[in-house]
Symmetry: C2
DNA sequence: ATGGGTGCAAAGGATTTGCAACATT
DNA sequence: AATGTTGCAAATCCTTTGCACCCAT
């Protein structure tokens, strides 16, 4: 859990001016374990900020992604969601309840991909789909 | 390389009537190593079939995905593409030239995800991004 | 006062849907 | 004839863009 001051510092280091809206959006995505969509971020912060537009949320999230501060998940292209968790992890999306869960994984998993040494890897995402423990037991 | 007759058989087994359009679309996606979008499938088959609409391509691809005959890739949610390769493989998308390449991987890579034994996995996709060998050397 | 940030309204683009014509059995 | 398939046109949804206003430096 980073403090507001630390998050602000992180924005500045990335060359991004820490406006009220930006800091709030950054904090929300970083602290959330819920992989929010732009819409969800908007709904969550609308009251808190008094003034906020969906446009700003979209623009700001794009800004953060381009700066490498958060990542955009495309586990399901019917909706786009964002992830502030900076550790190496896989994503599991439950086909039944729709929940997206983070799963830890060993760092050297890329060694299992053949011929990858001739490539230069910037980003790796492992997306899993199926039933989560809760939904699995219900069936 | 499957024959037309084998592909037709596969559709029937999945409970899908093998119309001319469906068989052509199925064959194209299965034989292509190019991960086509709906648009690309449409352009490629338009002449061959004489009559074909984008709507049919969209509906048919969805039908195949739901039946588990092909898979939908969401490596980049600015465009949706399809994959007829049924072997276990990872996808690498080059940030520079945009090409998407299949990479073989060892089957037991899921053992590197912690706590996965309590889940039921139906689908796993590993998406890699960076520079392909050709683009890497150019820089 | 100047440059960037915000937000409204409108545009954009990919995909889906309604429905009528058509094909195949 | 009946059922399922196709395809045009229109609708839909999410996201981006144009532009004017506003804030902070």
């Amino acid at each position: 859990m980073a403090t507001r001051a630390e998050l602000r510092e992180e924005l500045v280091k990335a060359g991004i001016r820490p406006s009220v809206q930006r800091l709030a959006i950054f904090e929300y995505v970083r602290q959330s374990c819920q992989h929010p969509t732009a819409e969800v971020v908007y709904e969550a912060l609308c009251d808190e900020l008094g003034s906020l537009s969906l446009t700003t949320v979209y623009n700001t999230l794009k800004l953060f992604v381009d700066a490498g501060l958060i990542s955009m998940l495309t586990i399901d292209d019917t909706f786009r969601c964002f992830d502030g968790n900076r550790c190496c992890h896989a994503h599991f999306r439950c086909d039944n309840c729709g929940k997206i869960v983070d799963l830890q994984m060993k760092k050297d998993f890329l060694s299992l991909v053949e011929g990858l040494d001739t490539y230069s890897v910037n980003d790796a995402q492992l997306y899993l789909k199926g039933l989560c423990p809760a939904c699995k037991n219900k069936k």
